[in-house]
């Protein structure tokens, strides 16, 4: 069990660094989604299932959906600008 | 359990419920509900103040069926109820003062949401003042942050949105640090209740294993709360946040929100970590150092401002430096001077913001000094209010600012010699700097120019003039009858620990 926890924690650190250094916004958000999924697995390993469900449903689920909608709205406005300029 | 003892709990729950209800009411009804709620709370808390003043000792109110370390708990003493009464009074006056501008700035559909924010902010202020449990304080600090951000951004011009974004980023940084410190403190002491933490912290002797974590906890708490209350190095969000929001929300933000965080810091000083542990850890010297620089830098950057709202915002950076200087002195007199300055600064700062909105209303809604010239003649009551506020900031006798400066000087005299020297010198220099930009502002609003702005038969709104008169009376009361207030603070501090 020890090794599995260490692998997950290292994965978390790699995800956090990847989020801060990657250029494309969409990949950053997908990396962040995997970050919160790994976090909810860690809650299970830490024997607190309440947190696992809440982190999975509220943290990974709704936050990522909101990030995607924001990105789509910004992409939509960007295309409108290009149409106006073109 | 006397009925009056339930009033603090009832006032918090009433605020939360009326915040929820006024989200479905129309703008006008939400305004009436909010005004009546704030005045009712003022009355309830003043009754609690008299009750606690008579019984001469603070009592704890158990939230729910389970005693303190298991359930939540409020602790009500003279100091807390005095702060609560004062906060309700200032909020009522700034709401009435800025009422016309609220209905002009905020979209017609969204005025009731403005009053939702005001109600929930008042409930979080009262909860922060009364609570005796650290995690409850953190949850209500979060409500306070979101409500303050909403008050800044509700006036939807570009500036206030950018100011709200900057405010949110800095505040979230602050609350992240506070939560980190809180979880370390929970790990060291095993409790979230303030008095139990103090017993556990007292057992951490210097040189034991938990000595370094305790120092880091104190540092994180002080930095987190300094960021949120805009102490000098972390004040970059303050001028935009106060400069571009509606007058009544900038009045509430500058006088109530940052003061609640300072009051929470004083509560942590006395009730969570203990004053002597704080002094051993030299945190008071660090606060004194930053406060002194803040007093100078705040006034210096205010001098080169030519926008009246940003000038008042920078002056509140300097005044927050005064309060932290009082805390940094480390003595009981210093703390009492800081608490009195919280009251006097709240009174004069909100008056300045509301008067400035009155002045800019008669000079074509511009905040620039060139247009504000001569506005003192056009809007008489706003001119008088601005002058009284400016003179109290500078520290002219008979005004509130003067008495708090006297108490600061007294506290600095019997502090340690190095602090006394630096304190007195900086007090003098910053008074001169205050005089430079405030007297210049008063002179410029009374030089007769800009006749083209004169609207024949212009009369300021009734609520505006009533609020102004009450502000002026409050300032004089704080200036002249400050002794009973200082006795209340002294008694409150004795039962505070």
């Amino acid at each position: 069990m020890e090794v599995f926890e260490i692998i997950l924690l290292l994965f978390l650190i790699v995800c956090a660094i990847a989020v801060s250094f990657s250029k494309n916004l969409l990949t950053t958000i997908i990396i962040f989604m995997s970050y919160s999924l790994i976090m909810s697995i860690i809650w299970i390993l830490l024997k607190s299932p309440d947190l696992a469900i809440t982190e999975a449903a509220v943290g990974a689920g709704v936050t990522s959906v909101l990030f995607f909608v924001t990105l789509k709205k910004i992409r939509a406005m960007k295309e409108e600008d290009n149409d106006e300029q073109a | 359990m006397h009925l009056i003892q339930n009033f603090p709990f009832i006032s918090i729950i009433l605020c939360l419920a009326s915040g929820v209800v006024s989200s479905v009411l129309s703008g006008k009804n939400a305004k009436r509900l909010c005004i009546s709620l704030v005045s009712l709370l003022g009355i309830l808390n003043s009754m609690v103040l008299f009750y606690v003043w008579k019984t001469k000792e603070s009592y704890t109110f158990m939230m729910g069926h389970f005693p303190a370390p298991w359930g939540n708990e409020l602790r009500i003493g003279v100091l807390e109820s005095l702060m609560a009464v004062f906060f309700c009074a200032i909020m009522l006056l700034s709401l009435c003062g800025g009422m016309k501008r609220i209905f002009k700035d905020v979209e017609e559909e969204k005025t009731n949401l403005y009053f939702v924010m005001i109600d929930l902010m008042l409930s979080s202020l009262l909860a922060i003042i009364y609570t005796n449990d650290l995690f409850t304080a953190y949850v209500f600090v979060e409500i306070n942050t979101i409500a303050a951000c909403a008050l800044i951004m509700i006036r939807n011009n570009g500036h206030s949105l950018v100011a709200a974004a900057k405010y949110m980023i800095m505040s979230l940084l602050g609350s992240g640090l506070i939560l980190m410190a809180l979880s370390m403190l929970y790990d060291l002491s095993g409790h979230l209740l303030m008095s139990n933490i103090k017993e556990a912290v007292a057992q951490i002797l210097p040189g034991s294993q938990y000595e370094i974590p305790l120092t880091v906890v104190i540092a994180l708490l002080c930095v987190g709360l300094a960021i949120k209350s805009a102490l000098f190095p972390f004040h970059s969000w303050l001028p935009d946040a106060y400069g571009f929001s509606t007058p009544s929300s900038s009045a509430i933000l500058s006088s109530l929100v940052s003061k609640a965080y300072i009051f929470l810091l004083i509560k942590i000083f006395y009730r969570v970590i203990g004053m002597d542990v704080m002094i051993d850890h030299k945190i008071t010297n660090a606060l004194f150092f930053f406060a002194v620089i803040g007093m100078l830098m705040g006034s210096l950057s205010a001098i080169k401002e030519h926008d009246i709202r940003r000038l008042i915002a920078f002056s509140s950076v300097a005044q927050i430096g005064y309060i932290y200087m009082g805390i940094g002195l480390g003595t009981k007199a210093g703390m009492m001077a800081a608490l009195f300055h919280i009251l006097s600064h709240a009174a004069s700062k909100s008056m300045l913001f509301i008067a400035a909105s009155g002045l800019s209303e008669v000079s074509g809604n511009s905040k620039d000094f060139t247009d504000l010239k001569g506005s003192g003649y056009r809007n008489k009551i706003a001119g008088i209010g601005f002058t009284v506020g400016a003179l109290s900031m500078v520290g002219i006798p008979l005004f509130a600012g003067f008495t708090s400066k006297v108490y600061f000087a007294e506290a600095a005299v019997n502090a340690s010699t190095s602090k006394m020297a630096i304190g007195m010198v900086i007090l003098a220099i910053s008074t001169i700097l205050n005089a430079v930009y405030f007297i210049r502002a008063v002179i410029s609003i009374y030089t007769p120019r800009n006749e083209h702005f004169i609207v024949p038969g212009y009369k300021p709104a009734v609520t505006f003039s009533v609020a102004m008169v009450f502000f002026i009376v409050l300032n004089f009361v704080l200036g002249i009858f400050s002794n009973p207030i200082m006795d209340a603070i002294e008694v409150g501090l004795k039962m505070f620990a």
């Binding site: 309440d50 | 949850v139 950018v162 939560l179």
Partner: protein
């Protein structure tokens, strides 16, 4: 350096994540990156807080086959606090994202410095 660094490796990782989130929040000028940095910082603090309650060999704090001794279960207090915290960070993220959309609709940029410059320019 105290002896517990290797035993407390969960808290060490939480602190490293806190540092990364803290710097992402401070360093990047793009608003979406700042909000992601804030989320990472907050999740790291909740990991730091929830790990306090873990007891090796303890079971999840739900009554199993009628056993009511403290030694069998982990400490439920930190999970209660973190449950509150997760919902706080979701609501603050939603607020910041709404602010970002509104700012982008007005200034057509996500860079907060450019936004404040455009806001100043609007004044003239």
């Amino acid at each position: 350096m105290g002896g517990n660094l290797l035993t407390n490796f969960y808290e060490a990782v939480a602190v490293i994540l806190f540092g990364i989130g803290f710097t992402t929040l401070l360093l990047h000028r793009n608003m979406i990156k700042k909000i992601l940095g804030f989320n990472i910082m907050d999740t790291a603090i909740y990991l730091f807080l929830a790990v306090k309650g873990y007891i090796t060999g303890g079971m999840a704090p739900i009554l199993t086959n009628g056993v009511e001794e403290q030694a069998y279960y982990i400490n439920p207090v930190p999970s209660g606090l973190v449950l509150t915290g997760i919902v706080v960070s979701v609501s603050v993220t939603a607020l910041m994202l709404a602010l970002t959309i509104r700012l982008y609709r007005r200034y057509h940029t996500l860079d907060i410095d450019k936004m404040s410059m455009l806001a100043k320019k609007e004044d003239l």
